[in-house]
């Protein structure tokens, strides 16, 4: 009797142990503040579920290289990964690299964030963080020149002109000019001028409204922008702003923290302002996008454990922690939580409120071959900057490039959609 009892106990222990040490998952994250947050929180998850998490984090483009190499060769061991819905979403979906997420509750996510997460009628990724275009400005410089914060393109240009000071090396206006990188930040200008990158599955950036915006952008940067504008992206403009060499800067909302941090920026925080993107001739439509999401790999061999991790990593609880760490999360509910809002910068919150209501949910042509399309549109942007938006052949060039983008759409079967 005793022996049988002992045997049963041992058996039970063995079974429970086997169950406890069952799952191990591999998670690939991007070098991103939310990824950093997750890394610190993962031990809690491992404790609670007994699932071992092998996490790697990589810089953005290296993450894409690695995921592509693994998935395209059908030999991946990745279970969960961070992904950029607007840059690789369509491509990954087309190649069957995302696993559909039928059982996940998406109710807390705004409709426009789900646009790029859904294909057909199913969702394939979970939006994580959100960003929108804003105007950063130097309160002190504006005050000194007696200018109010620009709220329209016309005011923006007038302010840039007044604040541009070659003698002190201060650029009146800065924005990305580096080809593909500039496409996302130009988008708000285009939308607010009544244009689009794509319309009904065809390139539309060579149409009048969009071209007006592109010319305006080029003119602004050529006349009031920093030196070398066609090579500058955020990582170049940021140091300029921090060194006090930029008066007005339009870019994504995610950079705010760094330009008010005294260990990073020469400009005191009280001299830095953040405002809603100015209105264009046809409206005030900045982009507002879910820049990063999280997905489960279709090739995953541990889907149950992966789903557990995914649910935990995108939970409301962690979203709250993200917000408190100044990461602008995609979930809607955290933006109406008074405790959280009390801790965030008021202006950042109000720009977000505006963008969430009036923004356009894409910041680039939403297509599979978006990488190449961005390079093409980037050529147009550079040409515009180099000629201050006034080159007579800019329209011809735009038509040629639009043709090329249309070819891309045709090649991938997206033309006319």
């Amino acid at each position: 009797m005793k022996r049988a009892a002992v045997a049963i106990i041992i058996l039970a222990l063995a079974v429970s142990l086997a169950g406890a040490q069952s799952a191990e998952i591999r998670v690939l994250l991007a070098n991103h503040p939310y990824g950093d947050l997750l890394k610190t929180a993962i031990p809690e998850f491992e404790q609670a579920t007994g699932i071992k998490v092998n996490v790697e984090s990589l810089q953005e483009s290296q993450l894409t290289t690695k995921l592509t190499t693994e998935f395209a060769t059908n030999s991946s061991s990745v279970d969960v990964f961070m992904t950029r819905p607007l840059q690789e979403g369509k491509m990954f979906y087309k190649n069957g690299w995302y696993a559909p997420l039928a059982s996940y509750d998406f109710s807390d996510f705004p409709a426009n964030a789900m646009n790029a997460a859904t294909f057909g009628s199913k969702a394939y990724l979970i939006p994580l963080v959100t960003e929108w275009e804003v105007l950063y400005y130097r309160k002190d410089l504006l005050k000194k020149a007696g200018i109010a914060v620009p709220t329209t393109f016309a005011e923006l240009e007038a302010a840039a002109k007044k604040l541009n000071d070659p003698t002190t090396g201060v650029a009146g206006f800065a924005a990305r000019g580096k080809g593909a990188a500039a496409v996302t930040q130009l988008s708000s200008f285009i939308y607010s001028s009544g244009g689009f990158y794509l319309d009904k599955g065809k390139a539309a950036f060579d149409q009048r409204p969009a071209m007006d915006a592109i010319r305006f952008y080029g003119k602004m940067l050529a006349n009031y922008g920093p030196q070398g504008a066609t090579s500058l992206s955020w990582e170049n403009i940021m140091p300029l702003f921090q060194a006090g060499k930029v008066a007005l800067w339009t870019d994504a909302s995610v950079f705010y923290g760094q330009i008010v941090d005294p260990s990073k920026s020469q400009i005191p925080a009280e001299s830095v302002g953040i405002a809603t993107f100015p209105a264009g001739p046809k409206g005030n439509t900045p982009y507002t996008v879910a820049s990063w999401g999280m997905a489960m790999a279709k090739q995953s061999k541990n889907k149950d454990a992966a789903l557990k991790f995914l649910t935990w990593a995108t939970s409301k609880d962690l979203a709250k922690r993200g917000m408190l760490a100044n990461i602008t999360m995609a979930r809607a509910s955290v933006w109406s939580d008074p405790e959280i809002l009390a801790k965030m910068n008021k202006d950042l919150v109000s720009t977000r409120a505006y963008a969430a209501k009036n923004g356009f949910p894409y910041d680039r042509p939403y297509m599979t071959a978006v990488g190449e399309a961005r390079d093409r549109i980037g050529e147009l942007i550079i040409a515009s900057i180099n000629s201050a938006g006034a080159a007579p052949d800019l329209d011809t060039k735009a038509h040629d490039l639009a043709e090329k983008v249309n070819e891309l759409l045709e090649d991938t079967g997206e033309a006319g959609q």
Binding site: S61, T64, T65, T68, A72, K90, M91, K94, N95, G169, A171, K178, G179, P226, Q227, G228, T230, S231, L232, N236, P239, L240, A243, K245, T368, A369, G371, E372, D375, G378, E379, I382, L408, D411, T412, G413
Partner: protein
């Protein structure tokens, strides 16, 4: 005893492990890449790959960016490697004599070689910034105007070459220094006995004797130079526009930004052929110099 099995078959056995290793490691990649270059594999189409013979080659050749990338690859390499070779050899000759702190200097020479490309890229990006960078700051201090460096399509290639020269000249110096150290002293002694000046010894004895070593260093450096990736990617990513896009950068973009695997394989095959022809060319020069 005239030696056993190993001795008799030395010329086969000695290089065998190395040769086998190389074959094993590159066979599959070469076949894979060449095969892909004959397909139209494009991850954005979502279609399975099809063999299309030379169609991908055609599409690549028709792309104006392609020839421009080839030209830039040569321009960058000739500029960078040319200066590195001359400068590196000059340094090696200068450092030949024993002097206090020679060990330290050799150590310092290693520094640019061991610096991580991303750190170099970020640092030099900042040096070169036309608005707040130190390069223009120094130019202004001595009364000259500022340049746009890597931030302008006309100056980007030479500016990148400067960074490459900074980083890789020491490698040539080290190889040539080793070569110089291995030279036998007799020709020098007899030249001195004959009353030759330092300059004559340098140009008529030293350099000719160490020329094969210089070629060795040059070949190694050229191979890497034609394929330069790290600093260009970290600093300009091929920009402004495509002004610093070399073949390797273009291949990377085609692979991991455009996802056109078939066409990027074409670019890789062509890059390989270019590097091969170029190196064979210098090897031939080396052989002639030994003649």
């Amino acid at each position: 005893m005239s030696g056993g099995f190993v001795d008799r078959h030395f010329k086969i056995l000695a290089p065998l492990p190395a040769a086998v290793f190389v074959v094993v490691m590159i066979l599959f990649p070469v076949i894979y890449t060449v095969f892909l270059s004959f397909t139209n594999w494009n991850l954005t189409s979502g279609n399975p790959l099809q063999v299309v013979a030379l169609r991908s080659y055609g599409r690549v050749f028709r792309e104006p960016r392609f020839l421009a990338a080839v030209a830039r690859t040569f321009l960058f390499t000739l500029l960078a490697v040319g200066v590195e070779t001359i400068l590196g050899t000059a340094l090696a000759v200068l450092l030949r004599r024993q002097f206090a702190g020679k060990g330290l200097v050799k150590l310092l020479l290693l520094l640019p070689l061991v610096a991580a490309p991303v750190a170099i890229g970020i640092s030099w990006n900042l040096f070169y910034d036309p608005n707040i960078g130190i390069a223009n700051y120094l130019l202004h201090q001595i009364g000259l105007g500022g340049l746009k460096w890597i931030y302008d399509s006309t100056t980007v290639i030479p500016s990148l070459a400067i960074v490459d020269i900074w980083q890789w000249t020491p490698m040539i110096t080290l190889i040539v220094m080793a070569g110089l150290a291995g030279l036998s002293p007799e020709p020098f002694e007899s030249a001195r006995v004959d009353g030759a000046t330092d300059s004559q010894i340098l140009w008529r004895v030293t350099l000719p004797m160490v020329l094969p070593t210089i070629y060795t260093a040059m070949i190694l450096r050229s191979i890497d130079g034609l394929k330069t990736f790290d600093i260009i990617y970290a600093m300009t990513g091929g920009g402004p526009g495509y002004a610093s896009e070399t073949l390797n950068i273009m291949a990377f973009k085609y692979s991991f930004e455009y996802f056109r695997m078939g066409q990027s394989s074409v670019l890789l095959v062509i890059l390989f052929l270019i590097v091969l022809l170029f190196s064979l060319g210098i090897v031939r020069l080396q052989r002639l110099s030994e003649g």
